[in-house]
């Protein structure tokens, strides 16, 4: 049973005058334990793809199964439960809550799960130790560097012990050295058995993945069998920015 099975998924954005197809019959299958990168030029539908995959947004057509569960028509409560228990998110901007210290930030998804305080503490301590921030529990996000904040975000994603980690440009706001560290951390997480789907426009980051897929005008190109290192994104056809702006 694949971790993620998407078949003919279509997602469109409508305004009064224009309809933009952000995902155009996307089909994808990811096995448990895989590390897959999704790349593509700006406006290609990467964020929409991540939103649909992470149950952050709905889709119009097609089927989508996550860990064997058809998530196509679930209600808010059920979707929230799946996001909380099966998915860990790592965002480009880290998305830490500025008013909460590191401990409370990692605690956020655990509280929504309703775990006991003892179990939450164990997971938080373990998660922060794993990313090397065990001694910074009571620091505020603003007191940490970008790389450290992203480590906290990874600890937050890991604390829920998810089956799938969705990473949205996880190194987008980091310098290259820190980006490399984060990618190594994600690789370690993947080696421990967690499936990772990472959206990135950075070929260097994408190279860490076992498999790379590309989005172009909302269409998915699986390059599993292609020679990934030689792919030059600048040679891909130009995308009409104005037509796809809504998907950004």
């Amino acid at each position: 049973m694949p971790m993620l099975y998407m078949n003919d998924v279509v997602k469109s954005y409508r305004t009064d005058l224009v309809q933009t197809r952000a995902l155009d019959h996307v089909s994808l299958e990811i096995e448990a334990g895989e590390f897959v990168s999704v790349s593509g030029p700006s406006g290609s539908g990467k964020t929409t793809f991540l939103n649909v995959t992470g149950l952050l947004d709905t889709f119009d057509e097609g089927t989508y199964q996550l860990d064997g569960v058809d998530v196509s028509r679930l209600g808010d409560l059920e979707q929230s439960r799946i996001r909380n228990q099966k998915i860990g998110f790592v965002f480009q901007g880290f998305n830490l809550i500025p008013d909460l210290d590191i401990f409370d930030n990692v605690d956020v998804p655990l509280r929504y799960r309703g775990l006991s305080s003892k179990e939450r503490k164990r997971r938080i301590d373990e998660g922060l130790e794993r990313v090397g921030l065990g001694g910074r529990k009571h620091h505020l996000p603003s007191q940490l560097s970008g790389g450290q904040q992203q480590r906290v975000a990874i600890a937050r994603a890991l604390a829920g012990e998810p089956k799938l980690i969705l990473a949205d440009e996880p190194t987008g706001n980091l310098d290259s050295a820190t980006a490399y560290e984060i990618m190594e951390l994600l690789e370690t997480v993947n080696e421990a058995g967690t499936t990772i789907l990472m959206v990135t426009h950075d070929p260097g980051c994408a190279a860490h993945a076992h498999r790379q897929v590309h989005l172009l005008d909302g269409r998915l190109i699986d390059v599993r069998e292609e020679a990934v290192p030689t792919l030059n994104l600048s040679q891909l056809p130009r995308v009409d920015e104005s037509a796809t702006a809504a998907t950004a």
Binding site: T47, D57, S80, R81, N84, F89, F91, N95, I97, D168
Partner: protein, 408 residues
């Protein structure tokens, strides 16, 4: 999936947003302190307005007669016309009784006098509102004689000038003058001295008339007389239950039939009472406006700050949703935040309310804060806080989790 309220992180988060929390708590605290004391004073005034006067207010009509004929200069003529008026009114269908009286009760103020047991030092005399009326005054007003007797026709003086009067007093006045309870038959001095004392012949159970506050409002004295002046006479007419309108419609004509050379003006007891309670009504109105204004401004403040907070935290809300918070958890988060702020504001406000109350009780005659009022007021303010938070909190709960990936 649980989405219980997470008080710990919420409190810690609030403590890191001190300015916002401080603004709201101070606003709520001031509102609690002022609104509770204003409400106590509103209730105090309403209590006065609703106080049992002992009078059959709903069945009474007041009549003011202003004659212009020269005959009215003559005391005997005025007495004769008064008797003819009373006889004609009492003969009207729907009329239970009528009296001629110097001042309408409940109109606020009137005539008052100092009185004390005969021979007592003047410094110990007590002030009493004074009514002069014919013997039917008690039945007309609906007052019950609980001891002794009412007036008789023979109690009414036949000539103007000082006289030894048989008087009827209220129970409160009798007890104030003679605490031993032996008021009947006692002589009192209302200014006539040893030569013209007044003798208490009867006691009325209860009567209240507004007179600017204080115990004198229930310490009342009735003198037997047919009071009339060359310029004015006043009558009170008691209709049978349900016949007030019918009597009101034909009263003027009855007076005109007896003596056409005079102007007749009718007033219901509600109209008379409005004058007596004008200050109370005004205070109720002012305090109510103050309380409503405070509540409105506070609700607006809570709404505005919460709405601003939602806008500021859009990305954070999206992140919480992405991390597994259902819509309801977001709603509960903001309601819990509002409740915590309200509780802190209420706590500070209650301290302020009691402090302010001590000042008002000592210097402005305000009542002490009733614990029930404090409880109801606090709950109402908490509910107001929740209501003011509801709309922005609902908006927050409807934000899409996809905001987490958006660059806001």
């Amino acid at each position: 999936m649980k989405h219980s309220i997470h008080i710990g992180p919420l409190l810690r988060s609030m403590m890191r947003n001190k300015t916002r929390v401080l603004l709201l708590t101070v606003e709520i605290a001031v509102t609690v302190a002022v609104a509770l004391n204003c409400s106590a004073m509103i209730l105090q005034q309403l209590e006065v307005l609703r106080r049992d006067t002992g009078i059959a207010e709903n069945e009474l009509i007041g009549v003011e007669v202003r004659p212009w004929a020269a005959d009215y200069q003559d005391f005997q003529y005025r007495q004769r016309i008064a008797r003819e008026d009373l006889a004609a009114i009492r003969a009207m269908p729907g009329v239970r009784n009528a009296t001629i009286i110097n001042t309408f009760p409940l109109q606020g103020g009137g005539s008052s006098s100092l009185a004390g047991p005969l021979g007592s030092p003047r410094e110990e005399w007590i002030r009493t509102p004074v009514y002069s009326a014919d013997p039917q005054v008690f039945d007309t007003l609906g007052l019950e004689i609980v001891e002794g007797r009412g007036f008789r026709e023979t109690d009414i003086p036949t000539e103007p000038g000082p006289y030894i009067a048989n008087v009827v007093v209220t129970r409160d006045f009798a007890d104030a003058l003679f605490p031993e309870g032996n008021a009947i038959g006692q002589s009192i001095d209302t200014g006539g001295g040893e030569e013209y004392p007044d003798v208490i012949v009867g006691i009325v159970g209860h009567m209240f008339t507004p007179y600017g506050g204080g115990p004198m409002e229930t310490r009342i004295t009735f003198f037997p007389r047919l009071p009339s002046s060359t310029q004015r006479s006043q009558y009170l007419v008691r209709a049978e239950p349900g016949a007030v309108d019918q009597v009101y419609a034909s009263l003027t004509q009855t007076f005109v039939n007896v003596e056409p050379r005079r102007a007749v003006a009718l007033r219901t007891m509600d109209e008379i009472k409005a004058g007596g309670y004008i200050q109370n009504n005004l205070m109720v109105d002012i305090y109510t406006v103050v309380v409503l204004l405070l509540l409105f401004v506070t609700a607006l403040g809570i709404f505005g700050i919460t709405a601003y907070s939602v806008t500021q935290r859009t990305k954070q809300i999206g992140t919480r949703r992405a991390l597994g918070a259902p819509k309801q958890a977001i709603l509960h988060y903001f309601l819990a935040e509002s409740t915590l702020v309200s509780l802190i504001g209420l706590g500070l406000g209650l301290i302020g309310a009691y402090g302010l109350n001590v000042l008002l009780v000592n210097h402005a005659g305000a009542p002490k804060l009733d614990p029930v009022l404090v409880l109801v007021g606090s709950l109402s303010l908490w509910m107001l806080g929740l209501l003011a938070t509801w709309a922005p909190a609902q908006r927050a709960s409807r934000l899409s989790p996809a905001l987490a990936t958006r660059t806001v």
